[in-house]
């Protein structure tokens, strides 16, 4: 897809339409190589499922993309422009936002304060609570997120509702590249449906690209356009979702487990 010089530096320009392009990203933590050589791309309006087992490097990649950590090498292109993402704020300016399942929201604050956290509307010196409440309400309605009241403390909502609010918040703050970290983990079918529906709605809007990071591929295959598999710090599999199946993905993962087991027996 891209021509790469042996030193991994030069590449041809990214084709137009790629919202995000990651080329040869590496990351080591001391002796541990978390990311060996990551190459992936995310088209505008696309939903990409990034699957991988625990420890494959998913969260490290996330942290790099959202500016929490710096890569050890390689480059990142946003809308064809090479960028060095040096902080979470910077990532957000570039339109990249990560939604963590449980970390994102502050339980002690109301839904609308969470929606506006760090982007509060202020009529100095006070917060414009009425305005924020109204806009939060409108925005959640527009996305079809059904919650009893925007005044409720987030602590009182279900996991799915919290997640939905976190996603809505990201979209609301003009995220164009949305990274969802394990959005469906520990979630029942009904709750998961809430999130899947929300992603589907986002897809229809067409201006938001979504990367869903998960290790349960069954749940996300259905709503994703394409599937990437991350194994041992590398993307080892890249196919449109309609050309693959749960069975195929399953076989790959089972194969990996079999190999790990064999290796263990060898060393033991």
């Amino acid at each position: 897809m891209t021509t790469v010089t042996p030193d991994g530096q030069g590449t041809v320009a990214a084709p137009a339409g790629d919202a995000l392009r990651v080329e040869h990203i590496r990351k080591r933590f001391g002796a541990v190589t978390a990311l060996r050589d990551i190459n992936l791309h995310l088209a505008k309006g696309e939903v990409l499922a990034l699957l991988g087992d625990n420890g494959a490097g998913k969260s490290t990649l996330m942290k790099i993309l959202c500016g929490f950590q710096q890569p050890g090498g390689g480059r990142i292109l946003v809308n064809g422009q090479e960028v060095v993402i040096n902080s979470v704020d910077h990532a957000r300016e570039l339109g990249i936002d990560v939604v963590y399942q449980d970390l994102a929201l502050v339980n002690q604050l109301s839904v609308y304060h969470n929606m506006f956290l760090n982007r509060e509307m202020v009529r100095w010196p006070f917060l414009s609570n009425k305005k924020m409440r109204r806009i939060a309400r409108e925005h959640l309605d527009e996305l079809g997120v059904d919650i009893p009241s925007v005044d409720a403390d987030v602590a009182k909502l279900s996991g799915g509702q919290r997640q939905a609010i976190a996603v809505a918040r990201a979209v609301f703050t003009d995220a164009k590249i949305l990274l969802l970290d394990e959005p469906l983990a520990a979630m029942g079918a009904k709750e998961a449906a809430l999130i899947l529906d929300l992603v589907r709605d986002l897809k229809q809007r067409g201006d938001v690209s979504v990367m869903i990071i998960a290790h349960n591929y069954g749940q996300v295959l259905e709503i994703s356009d394409r599937v990437n598999l991350l194994q041992h710090g590398e993307i080892t599999f890249d196919k449109p979702s309609r050309d693959t199946s749960v069975t195929e993905l399953n076989d790959i993962v089972v194969e990996e487990y079999r190999r790990a087991l064999a290796e263990r027996h060898k060393t033991a």
Binding site: A104, N107, Q108, L109, L117, E120, P125, S149
Partner: protein
């Protein structure tokens, strides 16, 4: 007071979309709303204590005299003001144990500046307050930047400040310097100065906590620091700031108490007012683990302690069993608060 307590919700307004506002329903909802506020229990306790000391006990003839009310207000004021700072710190997950020594040192610094260095009165007061700012910054630096737990850092800075104060003052009292006696009246000498300042600070900081970004971010940092930081909230800045707010308030109270006592005393301040204030904050519903708390609650908690401190001598209980009564009262208030909170949760679930 009940109205004030009711308006402390973070949401700052009634839940939307509820129809049927018939008047008995409204009254009932207002009552339920009030009882669901953390401050409600403390408010009731304060009222009961005042009723007891003012109408039932043997001291009832003295309690409502002007003199006693002044004493009561002068006891309450410093606790309230320091508690305000502690509320901000506790909410964002920290504590300041050193504030009582910032309190002790501030009037000494003012005295040194005026009497030894010829600094005029008002600049000396301002520099003493800035000293508080600096102590707060150091507490922030040790806690946020060096990553030590604030329980330890502020214990250390507290001792250090006490040492500096004792070395420089030779543990001796000093008179209030002439140039600040005039302004000192407004800060602490006039009968209602303590409570007046306390109420001004309560109003200001209540608004800061409930209605500004600073307050919102303080709650966010205490409630979920990682999440708040991921949203871009500058947690370190919030903590630095709250350490500085607390220490400046402590320095201010130190000046107030010196002016009110007409003497700068090395034995005033220290751990006692700090612990009263932390107790007041916690009694008023501030969570020791961060994330929630109110200024109104801390105000009521301080009033409760002040009524106890003032009330027992009024009814002629000797000073010796006072700490015991005091400890029991704090524990009872907190048990009541926790149990009441449980009841409220249950009531909500039903």
């Amino acid at each position: 007071m009940s109205e004030t307590a009711e308006r402390t919700s973070v949401a700052g307004g009634p839940p939307g979309g509820q129809a049927n506002r018939s008047s008995p329903g409204l009254l009932r909802r207002a009552t339920v709303g009030f009882m669901q506020r953390r401050e409600a229990t403390v408010f009731v306790v304060v009222v009961l204590l005042i009723v007891y000391f003012g109408f039932i006990s043997s001291g009832r003839s003295t309690f409502f005299t002007k003199l006693n009310l002044i004493v009561l207000s002068q006891v309450a004021g410093p606790i309230i003001i320091i508690a305000i700072g502690e509320v901000f710190l506790l909410i964002c997950g920290e504590i300041d144990l050193s504030v009582g020594f910032t309190f002790t040192f501030a009037p000494f610094l003012m005295h040194y500046l005026i009497d030894f260095y010829g600094v005029p009165g008002i600049p000396a007061i301002i520099i003493s307050l800035l000293m508080g700012l600096a102590v707060g910054w150091v507490n922030g630096f040790l806690t946020v930047t060096l990553g030590l737990p604030s329980f330890i850092t502020t214990l250390g800075t507290g001792f250090a400040l006490q040492g500096i104060m004792l070395i420089t003052s030779h543990a001796e009292q000093s008179a209030i310097p002439g140039p600040v006696q005039g302004i000192g009246h407004w800060i602490g000498t006039y009968a209602w100065a303590e409570i007046g300042w306390a109420i001004i600070f309560v109003i200001i900081f209540h608004l800061v906590l409930r209605r500004t970004r600073w307050g919102l971010h303080t709650i966010a940092v205490g409630g979920n620091q990682v999440g708040a930081q991921e949203a871009g909230v500058k947690a370190g800045r919030i903590k630095y700031g709250n350490f500085m707010i607390t220490a400046v308030l402590g320095a201010f109270v130190g000046l107030q108490v010196a002016f009110q006592a007409s003497v700068i005393d090395p034995s005033s301040g220290g751990y006692t007012p700090m612990f009263y204030s932390v107790a007041a904050a916690v009694i008023g519903g501030t969570a020791l683990l961060g994330g929630s708390g109110t200024i109104i609650g801390a105000f009521l908690g301080s009033m409760m302690l002040a009524v106890l401190i003032d009330g027992f001598p009024v009814i002629g209980v000797s000073a010796n069993p006072l700490p015991l009564i005091f400890g029991a009262a704090i524990l009872l208030a907190m048990i009541a608060n926790v149990q009441f909170a449980r009841l409220r949760e249950r009531g909500r679930a039903l």
